[in-house]
């Protein structure tokens, strides 16, 4: 029991962490609340499904194609749609919801509403401390850790990473220092969508795919980024671990009350932000200059 809680908790925390980090990045840099974030994650999972099952391509190849395709779709929709309305905060919300609904309905049209599943990347399971763990779950955890490390190194050590962080801190000052802010925003959007697509590729073999699968992660991601503090990467990570484990604990300890998992996770989020209104690691954003 306890081992299962740890394994499943880590896997769902990891997936949430990837999604939340991506969401947090684009919010921090461009102040865009991208409600279609998890729709891109779903799109990646379905693309992998159609490439492997329908076209019969190799699984690794189709994952690579899917990730690239989702990044392209994400940046195009950023360029053509989101960037054009971003001065209007409420309009940005609706435009991203509309994008998510378009993706959902397109998938519903293309694949129907029936649940689908994708074969595992690696089969079999490994014994760790007397618990058998699916190799796919280990792979998921490994990839999540690696990606978060890479993202962190990228943001901390490379020139583009510094540019991203400075744009997040102060757009205007970054612009005056010669940073090409629109380009940095495009780059961040590509990274953010890319992380979502990889998360989709990782969960595709573990979960069943339905056209409504983006809604629950979206709620969780919004809760996680608020819990951890908007714009803070370590906050997103810790928030993902807290809420991922909270959900898993509810499911395993009270199987008959599994429907309460969202409620419990959201209640934890509410309690935390009522005590600390800026979240656990909230950074105070500088007010936009008039």
């Amino acid at each position: 029991m306890a081992e299962n809680i740890i394994i499943y908790g880590l896997v769902s925390s990891g997936v949430y962490a990837l999604l939340a980090v991506g969401f947090s990045l684009i919010f921090g840099v461009a102040r865009i609340v991208n409600l279609s974030h998890t729709a891109f994650y779903m799109l990646a999972a379905y693309l992998i499904y159609s490439l492997t099952i329908t076209l019969g391509l190799n699984l690794f190849l189709s994952i690579a194609i899917a990730i690239v395709a989702v990044i392209v779709v994400g940046t195009i929709s950023y360029r053509l749609v989101i960037a054009r309305v971003r001065q209007h905060e409420a309009t940005t919300l609706i435009v991203t919801i509309a994008l998510a609904i378009i993706i959902q309905e397109a998938i519903l049209k293309g694949f129907g509403g029936n649940p689908r599943s994708v074969p595992k990347l690696i089969s079999g399971s490994t014994e760790i401390f007397g618990v058998s763990v699916l190799n796919q779950q280990l792979l998921t955890l490994g990839v999540v850790l690696l990606l978060i490390l890479v993202t962190w190194l990228f943001l901390m050590k490379t020139k583009s990473g510094v540019a991203i962080r400075s744009t997040a801190q102060d757009r205007e000052a970054a612009n005056l220092m010669g940073i090409n802010v629109p380009r940095i925003e495009m780059l961040t959007m590509a990274m953010s969508v890319g992380l979502a697509a990889i998360a989709g590729a990782l969960v595709a073999p573990l979960f069943v795919l339905t056209p409504g699968m983006w809604i629950h992660p979206l709620v969780m991601v919004l809760a996680i980024v608020v819990l951890g503090g908007l714009g803070s990467l370590q906050g997103s990570l810790i928030g993902a671990v807290i809420l991922g484990f909270a959900e898993t604990l509810v499911v395993f300890l009270a199987p008959s009350g599994a429907f309460l998992k969202t409620s419990v996770a959201l209640t934890i989020m509410l309690i935390v932000i009522l005590i600390r209104p800026e979240g656990l690691f909230g950074v105070k954003f500088e007010e936009e200059r008039g």
């Binding site: 054009r84 309305v85 309009t91 509309a98 309905e105 809760a223 309460l260 409620s263 959201l266 509410l270």
Partner: protein, 351 residues
């Protein structure tokens, strides 16, 4: 004999001075009249049903606008008020046998209390934090609904409650006038001193505080008022569809309110009403009937329409139309037709 004539003359003068001076108001009046006499044109039950539900959602979207558009407290969980009122009305009707005229106001009172429950803890939060925190409330309540199936009937929801009225036409003449009246009240509120304070809170809360306004009290008032109107909509909806289920608390319903409001134009009250009255019949009737869109594709097409309209009119449809046809007098801040040279009241030069 002279008294009625005097009233009619006064009414006509009022219309000429306040309504016919602006094409937008004339059009609004015509649409109101058209809605009121619509059953003369067609009595097809399905069309009436679509219009009734659209007008209920119009109240709902306008109530979101009062809280989020005017006061700037972006609410992602507006379905909470709708759902609380729908469930309250349904439970009171089913268990205590109260009639709709009693359960709908009581449901609205429950929604006001829900407004306080959300408003008080959320007073410390602002901006995006507030939006994401309010998102949690209806979803937590869905868990509670599933947890006590003896009261709420769990996933299926409560069905078989009393209908709004015996016939479709009567229901129509309950829903449409309610929508027109409540919309007018909300528009008046937004135009009053309270509305001005709401506006001030959205623009700059600290300055509003420094001007001696108790912003806490006004923010709570906004939550309660918005809850009241959304609650009336929820109660009407429950009695009209004769059911109250978890879908009334759904995340997508909260998002729908925002879609209607932003599509029509926020911070206007009439914008969200127009948004709901255009988009809901478009999705559920016009696309299927006149454009032969298969019903699976209607959401897709609606989403694309919303996207395209907002790309070209990022501040919403009615706001765009208003800016094209009217301009504001620089001296007395009244709306004037765009082609006037001088303000219709203070005769200041319009630029």
């Amino acid at each position: 004999m002279t008294a009625p004539v005097a009233y009619v003359t006064k009414l006509f003068k009022l219309l000429r001075a306040e309504v016919f001076v602006l094409p937008s108001r004339t059009v609004a009046l015509l649409i109101c009249l058209l809605l009121l006499i619509f059953p003369v044109i067609s009595q097809e039950p399905y069309i009436l049903r679509v219009l009734i539900i659209a007008s209920i959602f119009a109240i709902f979207a306008a109530s979101w606008d009062l809280l989020s558009g005017f006061t700037g407290q972006i609410n992602f969980g507006h379905a909470l008020f709708f759902g609380v009122a729908a469930y309250t009305a349904a439970i009171l009707n089913l268990n205590l046998g109260l009639a709709p005229w009693a359960t709908i106001p009581l449901g609205a009172v429950a929604a006001v209390l829900a407004g306080l429950v959300v408003g008080v803890p959320c007073l410390r939060l602002r901006g995006t934090y507030l939006a994401f925190a309010t998102l949690a409330f209806p979803l937590i309540l869905v868990g509670v609904v599933y947890a006590i199936p003896s009261v709420t009937h769990g996933e299926l929801g409560i069905y078989g409650i009393a209908p709004l009225s015996g016939s479709r036409i009567t229901s129509y003449y309950i829903a449409i006038p309610s929508m027109l009246a409540l919309g007018f009240i909300m528009w008046k509120i937004s135009d009053s001193k309270t509305g001005l304070i709401f506006h001030a809170i959205r623009e700059d809360e600290i300055t509003a505080k420094a001007s001696g306004i108790n912003t806490t009290r006004y923010k709570l008032l906004a939550f309660c008022l918005s809850g009241l109107f959304a609650g009336i909509a929820g109660g009407l909806y429950a009695h009209f569809v004769k059911a109250a289920g978890p879908s009334t608390l759904d995340l997508l319903l909260s998002f729908q309110a925002i879609i209607w409001a932003v599509f029509g134009g926020i911070a206007t009250i009439y914008g969200p009403i127009a948004g709901a009255l255009i988009l809901y019949p478009l999705t559920d009737y016009v696309l299927i009937k006149y454009f032969a869109v298969p019903s699976e594709a209607r959401l897709l097409i609606t989403a694309i329409i919303v996207l395209l309209v907002l790309l070209f009119m990022p501040r919403g449809l009615t706001t765009w139309l208003r800016d094209k046809t009217e301009k504001v007098c620089p001296r007395c801040k009244l709306q004037n037709v765009a082609w006037r040279k001088k303000c219709r009241v203070c005769t200041a030069e319009l630029d």
